[in-house]
Structure formats: structure tokens, C-alpha cells
Symmetry: C2
Subunit: 208 residues, 2 copies
């Protein structure tokens, strides 16, 4: 029997207990991940991501405000490196001296820029990208574009919850990136969630 | 001689070493506080705020996205309670079932709403408000308004850096709130920062 890391087991349990699936592609877990935050759970998640990327030589952890900040902060703390959070901004407000990239929000159906001060990333950096969700991957692509502009290396991508049925994870891996997702959801609909790497899909107790 | 807590001493040292004062009211400390984050420093800051509010019976720590999230997360972790971060939103996008309050950003010279899901605060809650900066206090007033709508108690207000020369801290204290600011700046201009409770103001090495 495969032993799951505690952080993964606890995340799955909380998703099943408190998650709400809306339609077939929105998972609402704002009671512990991205509005209210169970800090201890996210500390364990960040620490687990740090463990999985301990070999990668990251000099900084980078995320995008706001909901990536908590897991990214705990990953950075466990690796002993600074956290950098890209600002979301309207394209018109990006100032000189910033690296920026346009990102499409599918949930909110609009476009914004992610921006990082040019003073804070250099070619000497190796960036570990961390985020709470990976779905369409536009945020990660924006951060990759920022890293490229700075001439920085990318250590990999660490994700708390990946929607495996959307294409982003596969696309990033096909680009040669190491992507670690603590929880991968293969399929979901109201009242049903199936995680990846589970032999026996079964009906779950997620609400709705 | 007064012994400062380590977190306070370290914050002051970093402000003097890396802060940039722009004009007489903008302090740019984005190399360790609100863009890049020295996670260890903010962990110490959050832990110190938790220590100062250990008596207050907080059931949740509340902040506003994005730069309050790291200190608030470490405060919540030290207190063993959840973190709740209010979303910034355009007034038109606030959904039903949310408590919200209009907040004026003086730095950005615009107005936005802070919003918290009505499911996540109840009259049984006692909220500790934490933020990175206290200047005009409009964010804190917005969170107080949200707490009031929910019928929740407020344990107090914990701040990493207060601009003591602006009116907000005094106004909140006059409302009967316990406000703890780890660092209070009494006066600043290019190249000069004077902290509160220092007997001998002296020229500092803050850049610019």
C-alpha cells in the first residue's frame, strides 16, 4: 500500500469534507485554502513542497497575489529563501522597471498583468513557482514569462491542488518543467471528486 | 535601558538599511515586507503580535489581501486560529452573502470594497485585525465595519509598521481599540527616519 505524505492525506480529507463542486470545473474550498485559511494545513503543504524541491537550488519562491501567498510563504520558509509575490495590476498601471506579463483569469473572465520589480530578480536567481491552484495554467505561464525576461532559471512548479482534467499540468511538464502537485483531481462533478492515482474511483462525500 | 523584542529590533534595522523614503509620507520597503518578503522576519513579527494579543481570545485573524497576508498568517499560526483574508473587489462585483465595506486607497487614489463571505464570520467570533502598514487606517475601518455587520467582537489591531505621524493609530485607540504596532515611525523624510519612543532622534542611513 502506498503511504501518502500527511500533507496530501490531510488536504484530500479537507477537500472531501468541505469542498463544493460547482458544475464540472469549479472547486470551492474557501473555508481552508483561499479565503479562510487553515494555516497549519498550509504550513504542512508548503513544507512538503519544499521537501520535494529540496534538490532544485531555488534562490526565491515566487507566486502571484493573493491566494498563492500562504503556501508559497511556508515553502520559502522551509527552504530558507525569500518569498516574492507578483502584483496583479491593470496593464495601464505597470510602471517602468517592472517585468510583467498578461494573464487571463478564466474564473473571472478578464485579463490582468502580473508584475515584479526588476530590482528583485536577476539572472543569478533560480525561481520556484508556487500556487494554490493549477487549472488553465495562465498564471504559471505569466510567471515563466517574467522569469525569462529577468534571465532567471526556474526550479520548478509546486501546486497545492491541480485540476488534472484541465490541460495545464501536462503542458508544463511537456515544456520540461518539474511540476509537483500535492493533490491532483482527475474528475469532479456535484457530489463527486476522484483524485489521481487512485485505483478505485468511488463516490465521495463532497457537499453538493 | 529598554530591551526591544527581537522582532522589533530586526524590523527597525531592516527599515533603516533598505527603506526608501519618498517625499514625507511614502516608505518603500518592498525588498522584505510587501513585494519580496523576508519570511523569517515576518514569522518573528507575526509571532510577536500573537504574544501581545495572547490574552485577547481571538478566534480568527483577519486581514485584507495581499500584503497583510504573510504577517497575519504567522500571527494566526502562533495563536492556533484560522486566517481570514478579505478580498479586494470592485463594488459592482460583490456577491450576495458577503459582508463588505468601501475602502479608500490613498496610495493608489482610488476606492475599492473589502469583502468577506457571510459564512465565515459569526457573532461567536472575536477577530484580531492584522496588517502590514497602518497609515490613514481606511483598511482597518473597513474590517471593523465588516466585523460589525457580522456581529463579531474585535480582539484588537496588530500592525507591523505604523506611520505614527498620520492620524489612524490615535483615532483607533480613541475608539477604545487595543492597537499594537511593532514599529512606529514618528517622522520621516528623504534619508531620515525617526522611530517613536526614541529619546535621541538622529540622522539615519535609510537610502534616498
Amino acid at each position: 500500500m502506498i503511504q501518502l505524505p500527511d500533507a496530501v492525506r490531510d488536504l484530500r480529507a479537507r477537500i472531501l469534507a468541505e469542498g463544493e463542486v460547482i458544475g464540472t470545473d469549479i472547486l470551492k474550498i474557501d473555508s481552508f485554502l483561499n479565503h479562510q485559511v487553515d494555516v497549519r494545513l498550509l504550513e504542512d503543504a508548503g513544507t512538503e513542497l519544499a521537501r520535494r524541491f529540496a534538490h532544485a537550488g531555488a534562490t526565491k519562491v515566487i507566486t502571484v497575489e493573493a491566494s498563492g501567498i500562504v503556501p508559497a510563504a511556508f515553502t520559502a520558509r522551509a527552504l530558507g529563501v525569500p518569498l516574492l509575490f507578483a502584483k496583479k495590476a491593470l496593464p495601464s498601471t505597470i510602471r517602468e522597471g517592472f517585468f510583467s506579463s498578461e494573464v487571463r483569469s478564466f474564473t473571472k473572465n478578464r485579463t490582468f498583468d502580473v508584475a515584479v520589480s526588476g530590482r528583485l530578480i536577476s539572472p543569478a536567481d533560480c525561481l520556484l513557482i508556487v500556487d494554490d491552484f493549477l487549472a488553465h495554467g495562465s498564471t504559471v505561464q505569466g510567471l515563466l514569462h517574467v522569469a525569462q525576461q529577468a534571465g532567471a532559471q526556474v526550479a520548478g512548479v509546486g501546486i497545492v491542488v491541480e485540476k488534472g482534467f484541465q490541460s495545464a499540468g501536462a503542458a508544463l511538464r511537456a515544456q520540461g518543467l518539474e511540476v509537483v502537485s500535492l493533490v491532483v483531481i482527475e474528475e469532479m462533478r456535484e457530489g463527486y471528486i476522484r483524485f489521481a492515482e487512485e485505483a478505485a474511483p468511488e463516490l465521495r462525500s463532497a457537499r453538493r
